[in-house]
């Protein structure tokens, strides 16, 4: 496997789109339920957890960009084989693959669950998976530019949902936040760690880097995308804590979606129905980008044809979606994905960075 990729000009995109790529892959299934998860750990100080997580995100992004800048046009798979040798590099690559598959499956399962709870209790799982997977296949077979376009357009089509949150804001009780810092720092940090599932996906930077046209300017859109993610997570967390009573929030699994319940327009009374249906458009860039990563990596690692691997992946996802049936299983899946993701996305890059510096210095010395 070559470390650096040769990407044809027609497949590259401007760095500007990194904002949307990074942001839309992070926002999705996780955001629906993040307020409760944080609240369980960090109580009223959950917003501090989000702030810590947000700062940490930027730090990791900085490290990731540093790693990528160490090479000319490489992705994580190439870098790993370059640093660790062929065998270990490939094994780590497979590890990434499994992790991406898990997160993909958990996103699909979580959204299906939400649809069943909020709109259609009786809609069959296979049908919903078929909906999502067919859209995924249709987008990914269009090539990288269509994938990025999907992320960009669906962001534009759904971002206005943020504005509707202004209504719950008016009902917030600021007393829910005081007294500040009642929670222990360990719990707050634990909360910050629990944010991981919501903000997973930024590792796409490791995969998408060779496809960026103007590599010099990637830092700004990436950090803006992360800031936007942090802002959204912060917003829904703060509003949820202020809006729901503590006991209520503990029992509200998808607090973000429940916020939509009180929003109504002259012609639409229960907006949450529309919001949950539209959430498919929020989840879709997630699925599409993750699938692209999977297909791209399969091609890099095993030289699989994209067409074949796309259909292989969707068949596996379909079977997986049918097998993971109960709420408990979905929770377990999400839990495990979050745990693996935390180490792989938020810890591993630091190690990789230090190791890369070491290897590069050693190589330079040997050459000299």
């Amino acid at each position: 496997m070559k470390t650096n990729l040769n990407v044809p000009q027609s497949q590259t995109v401007q760095a500007f789109y990194l904002f949307f790529i990074v942001h839309t892959i992070q926002i999705g299934a996780g955001l629906m339920g993040v307020p409760r998860i944080l609240f369980l750990d960090a109580q009223a100080d959950a917003w501090i957890s989000v702030a810590i997580a947000g700062v940490y995100l930027h730090f990791i992004a900085w490290i990731m960009i540093k790693i990528l800048r160490g090479y000319e046009n490489a992705d994580i798979l190439g870098i790993q084989t370059d640093l660790f040798g062929k065998f270990v590099g490939k094994t780590l690559g497979i590890f990434y693959l499994l992790y991406i598959f898990l997160i993909l499956l958990s996103v699909i399962k979580n959204y299906i669950e939400v649809v069943q709870v909020f709109i259609f209790p009786e809609i069959p799982i296979w049908l919903m998976s078929l909906f999502l997977l067919s859209l995924m296949v249709y987008s990914v077979t269009g090539g990288f530019r269509v994938v990025v376009g999907t992320s960009f357009l669906f962001f534009l089509l759904t971002i206005w949902l943020v504005l509707t949150i202004s209504k719950p804001i008016t009902y917030m009780d600021w007393g829910h936040f005081t007294p500040i810092l009642q929670t222990s720092w360990t719990d707050i940090l634990k909360g910050a760690q629990r944010t991981a599932y919501t903000v997973l996906g930024m590792e796409i930077l490791f995969f998408v880097y060779p496809y960026i046209k103007n590599k010099k300017n990637i830092a700004l859109p990436v950090h803006l995308g992360l800031a936007m993610t942090t802002f959204l997570v912060m917003l829904v967390t703060v509003v949820s804590i202020g809006y729901f009573s503590p006991d209520h929030l503990r029992e509200t699994v998808w607090a973000t979606l429940s916020l939509f319940k009180i929003i109504s327009f002259p012609v639409i009374e229960r907006f949450d129905f529309i919001a949950v249906a539209l959430w498919m458009m929020v989840v879709l860039p997630n699925i599409v980008l993750l699938c692209w990563m999977l297909v791209h990596s399969l091609k890099r690692l095993f030289h699989l044809k994209e067409k074949h691997s796309i259909f292989g992946v969707s068949v596996l996802l379909f079977i997986g979606a049918l097998l993971v049936e109960y709420r408990m299983d979905i929770d377990l899946l999400t839990e495990w994905t979050a745990r693996v993701g935390f180490w792989l996305v938020f810890v591993y890059p630091i190690f990789l960075f230090l190791y890369m510096k070491l290897v590069h210095r050693w190589r330079r010395r040997r050459r000299a």
């Binding site: 809609i123 919903m128 859209l135 009374e269």
Partner: protein
Amino acid sequence: MERRIPVKKELYMESLQKHFRNSPDLVNKTFTFNRQTIVIHFINYQVNKDQLERDLLPPLTNAKKPWTMESLKNAIPLSSSEEIKDFSSLARELIHGGVSVYIVGYEEVVVFTLPKQDHRALNRAETESLVFGPQIAFTESLMTNLNVVRWRLDTDDLTVEKFLVGERIQSEVRVIYLKSLANEENVQTMKQRIEDIVIDEIEDSTVLNQLIEDSSSTVFPQLITTELPDRFCNSIAKGRVGVLVDKSPTAIIGPMTLFNFFESTEDTYMRWNIGTFIRMLRFLSMVISIVLTPMYVAALTYHYEIIPSSLLVSLGQSRATVPFPPVLEALLLEILIELLREAGARLPTKVGQTMGIVGGIVLGQAAVQAGFTSNILVIIIALSALASFTAPSYMMGSAIRIIRFPMIILAGAWGLIGIVFALSFLVIHLLRQKSLGRPYLAPIYPFEASALRGTIFRLPFQKNAKRPSYVMPKDESRFDKKRAGTKRDRSSP
């Protein structure tokens, strides 16, 4: 294979007769004077007789000296004379309105072209009618159309290239663009696609359009077909490539994006704020047309909760007697509207209006009274049908009407989830489309802020000094923005 022209007179006349299978329309005349025998041939109705009798026959027969090939070509006061050696090209020239002059003893024939072609004069545009602005439309005659284009685009930069399409029956095709402006890749793609066509004959330019489009499986048109010379010329002046086909009143322009199909030349002729408003209205009406009926179906089939309680009462009352589920009810009415539209298009104009009234008012009113549909659905369907007709491109309007049907069925089957699935599918579908290899959703994706000013909005001309960048013109700047913005009126004291 080249077939030579027979030298002997009898043989020559006989072979021509045989070639045209003794057609009664092939006229031959033999003159003998100055110790010379001259035979002329022409096809009766293809030749302008007045001109023939005034300009060709008198000088031919009044000659003092025997004719030679040279003198024949040069001494007769007609601009189009050609010397032909090949028999089959002689036959083709005769079909195109040529008069062949054959001097016994020569191996060549001189052909004078005096074509007569009946075609209608330039008329008002019918399908793309405008409230104001230039009114003429293209006609079926290629020469007339080219004449209009040359007249509108008064520059020697205008490049016209000729192609012949069709293996059995050939049609003349012209590719038109501005040399200094049109992107070479676009021109090359267009020319390549026209050259690559393998077909026996093309019926019309719309057929050519379907043959050169990027994707034939989608309902969305990718190149604009227009009958308006001003639209055609404006597009070419922006750096696009145009195509005219003989015998067809529709011109083709590309590359286009989805949003260009909602532009009308009228937006340009109106004041910018009104033009922008109208354009926004069209985008809105597209959304209404696609989403409104499916929303009604979804809400009434599955999600009663969405409808505000006050509205629910009146909705329930109007639907109380309707025996069908909302999907069927909606499909029924949608098909009724489509029937009316189709019948209106086919009926002779005199009957058309009456039928419109019968269909629209009587059928609609009766359907509600008979309890077939609810009043509110009639309003919704009428609104979305009306909205679909606001698209300035008839093809785009039809595409929008077609995609409503699967959307209604999906909404009936899976409610809001079905609608969002269909919309997502639509967006990805549009993302995958291309026009002459250029992205179809530009300037939204790939995002180009400067092109939004002219494509999505219609900002004042002084503020919009650029040609749309997604067309990739060689020169993006239309004029100097700074100079254009100032008016040097004498300020009053």
